[in-house]
């Protein structure tokens, strides 16, 4: 194995992992903090991807600039969804377990609703565009520019979010809520508002992932489920409720995926799950789980 191949696999893994990390951070906020296992997570990815596609092809807006439009819109959708639906469910559920199963069912409903609305709005057709699709040479290994840019944005968003968590009041409130919602609300944190913001931010990260994905992957209204599954796997791998864990878990899974694709592409998905399940058996609480 020469150096270029090693670079190919290593950087290729990071490129794949960047998107996974973003996806998983979003779900980690929703499941790890807000306790909603959001099966409709992938639908927000789809919404982000379609919004970017439409803004780019119909209005010529640079796909990367669409992040600034996609972000606030999806945040409002996510925030309102939590305020109207999940807050109510949380308050009326007798136990955390009951809330988890009820919100799971509710997110299935949301998945159906969003997908059907997308079908009505955009039609069932597959869509794709090409943006920044040229090779960039990194020490002999060549990668497409759009994937490198995606990675840059994923890391940037991850870092910005980390600073937000550590430095701001809201960030501290979110961390407190992730540790223990009951104590957090005793300490004067408006828990409902914090959880709704978490849910909204989680949806935004999914939307951002969708924007970045749409630059290189064909999109359609039914695309979401695969990404939801990936995101769930990553947060489990990274450790529930651990946002850095999800971030790192995303990169680990990306590298595993790239390595197995290199070795035997037809078994890559099987190997992928096998390694994941093995990891789970060895470390039942995830890599960074406590």
């Amino acid at each position: 194995m020469d150096l270029v191949t090693i670079l190919d696999i290593a950087i290729g893994g990071l490129l794949m992992g960047g998107i996974y990390a973003l996806l998983a951070m979003g779900l980690s906020l929703q499941y790890g903090v807000a306790r909603v296992l959001n099966i409709a997570h992938g639908e927000f990815i789809m919404l982000g991807a379609f919004a970017t596609y439409t803004l780019y092809t119909a209005f010529g807006i640079n796909p990367l600039l669409t992040l600034a439009i996609v972000g606030p819109i999806i945040f409002i959708i996510g925030f309102l969804l939590h305020r109207t639906l999940f807050t109510r469910l949380r308050i009326s559920s007798p136990s955390p377990g009951a809330f988890e199963s009820r919100s799971l069912l509710a997110t299935f409903g949301i998945l159906f609703i969003i997908q059907n609305l997308a079908l009505i709005g955009w039609g069932a057709n597959l869509r794709a565009y090409s943006y920044l699709n040229f090779g960039v040479n990194l020490g002999g290994a060549i990668f497409t520019a759009n994937r490198l840019v995606s990675l840059g944005f994923a890391i940037g968003i991850g870092l910005a979010f980390y600073i937000f968590l550590v430095r701001t009041r809201m960030g501290k409130a979110i961390r407190a809520a992730a540790q223990d919602p009951a104590t957090a609300s005793l300490m004067g944190v408006n828990i409902n508002r914090v959880l709704a913001i978490c849910f909204g931010l989680g949806a935004v990260m999914a939307g951002f992932a969708g924007t970045l994905l749409s630059m290189r992957v064909p999109i359609n209204p039914a695309m979401g489920m695969n990404y939801t599954i990936i995101a769930i796997i990553v947060i489990v791998l990274g450790g529930l409720g651990s946002i850095p864990g999800s971030f790192i878990g995303g990169f680990i899974l990306g590298i595993i995926g790239t390595v197995v694709t290199y070795i035997e592409p037809s078994l890559s998905l099987a190997a992928y799950y096998f390694i994941f399940m093995l990891l789970l058996l060895v470390r039942p609480k995830g890599i960074l789980g406590k």
Partner: protein
């Protein structure tokens, strides 16, 4: 005691709630209504993964036919002594085979539709064919075809397969074209499903026949998104011919990655995927209208094939996005409704057995030209004969798909010469 009674009552009520509406429509014999339309039933993927295929492929042909027939007052059916308009009864199978099978039986048993239209996707058609056949409903299949279905036709007299597939006669023609140009080596990427297994398997046989070495045949899971490693491997192997036997979600990223990595094999074939308008539209913004020139696809006809095809594509473009035009499928979906119309008008009936025999034994004059099915022995189903195909292989040239390969038979119309080697990808 009251408790028991109560629970008994509730259970009975619930059972009745479910059972009564179920059988009310069928338990009470309704008087036969006067026939005032031809009801055509179809279980189609309106949602889920296959919706993107169904919506663009046979869907618009159905819509166009309905408008055309009903504008003319309907189809004359001698049995009823009048023209009957057509009326669709479409259910959503949500891209689930189990649902599709059940809804097909609902259309047949409960709705008693006059005609059954095809479901969408090879696996779906494979599951629908035995069901339609069991109830004696003629099934002219649309989006799908495979060697396994042809083999199954021997026991399915009511099933007629229209879409060409791997060894019927796409890949034999393709291999001959390559051999004529002196191609020596090939690299195959295929999706790990029925379609990928079939095409990579048949290609291996056909390539061997004409002396092309298969360097590698790689299969990838359907969720594979990152093709850079595979394209890099292919580039290092430097094959004359590069084949992607997958669907658009594999074909488009493979193409994009090949462009970015400067992978320029002498021949690049990708399908299904490169045979749609969106293949070009994906890259047109960045690279201009000739962005995918030289790429080969499976294709039968284009606007230059005949004035009828020019009209078909113009009509289609009026109702669907040009991104959805399909030079492989649409030439074979359009004749399906023509065959139905002629069969009904000529036999003057909606009786499935009579219609079946008529379709099995007659030549039709459709957009393809002389069109007929070859029957698989006594009591078998039909396969649209290769002599009906106007072409097998297309190539993007100057921003349109030209038909560059076809068999040596009467309907074949070659619209341009096969360019080999393909020009390198344009640079932005």
């Amino acid at each position: 005691m009251t408790k028991k009674l109560l629970f008994g009552l509730i259970t009975i009520t619930l059972v009745a709630l479910v059972a009564v509406p179920l059988c009310s429509s069928s338990c009470v014999p309704a008087p036969a209504p006067a026939k005032d339309s031809i009801v055509i039933g179809a279980s189609r993927p309106l949602s889920g993964m296959n919706a993107m295929i169904g919506d663009a492929a046979f869907g618009p042909i159905m819509t166009m036919w309905e408008e055309e027939v009903n504008a003319a007052g309907g189809i004359y059916v001698a049995d009823y002594g009048k023209k009957l308009p057509i009326e669709y009864l479409i259910y959503d199978d949500a891209t689930d085979v189990g649902t599709m099978v059940r809804l097909t039986e609902k259309l047949i048993l409960e709705d008693k539709v006059d005609i059954l239209f095809s479901s969408c996707g090879t696996a779906f058609i494979s599951a629908q064919a035995p069901i339609a056949n069991k109830y004696g409903y003629v099934l002219l299949t649309a989006e799908g075809g495979a060697t396994i279905m042809r083999d199954a036709l021997y026991g399915l007299p009511y099933v007629f397969i229209s879409l060409p597939f791997s060894d019927h006669y796409q890949l034999p023609v393709f291999a001959d074209m390559l051999a004529a140009k002196g191609a020596k080596t090939a690299y195959i990427v295929s999706i790990a499903d029925l379609h990928g297994v079939e095409y990579s398997g048949v290609a291996a046989i056909e390539f061997a026949r004409v002396g092309i070495d298969l360097i590698a045949s790689v299969s990838v899971p359907e969720t594979q998104e990152d093709f850079s490693i595979i394209i890099k491997d292919a580039k290092a192997a430097n094959p004359d011919v590069f084949c992607v036997f997958g669907y658009p979600p594999q074909v488009l990223p493979c193409t994009a990655e090949s462009m970015a990595l400067g992978f320029n094999p002498k021949c690049f074939i990708a399908g299904p995927g490169a045979n749609f308008g969106f293949y070009q539209f994906t890259f047109i913004e960045a690279l201009g209208p000739n962005c995918v020139d030289g790429v080969l696809c499976f294709a039968a006809a284009n606007r230059a094939t005949s004035p009828e095809f020019a009209e078909l594509y113009d009509d289609l473009e009026a109702i669907v996005s040009p991104a959805m035009l399909d030079w492989w499928g649409h030439p074979y979906y359009a004749p399906l409704v023509q065959i139905w119309q002629e069969a009904i008008e000529e036999t003057g009936t909606l009786d499935q057995d009579i219609l079946r025999d008529y379709i099995a034994t007659h030549h039709f004059d459709t957009i393809l030209g002389d069109t007929y099915f070859e029957m698989s022995g006594e009591g078998g189903g039909g396969l649209l004969v290769k002599e009906t195909h106007p072409g097998e292989i297309g190539q993007w040239q100057n921003g349109v798909v030209e038909i560059v390969g076809g068999g040596p038979w009467s309907n074949t119309v070659i619209t341009a010469d096969f360019i080999y080697p393909k020009p390198p990808w344009p640079t932005p």
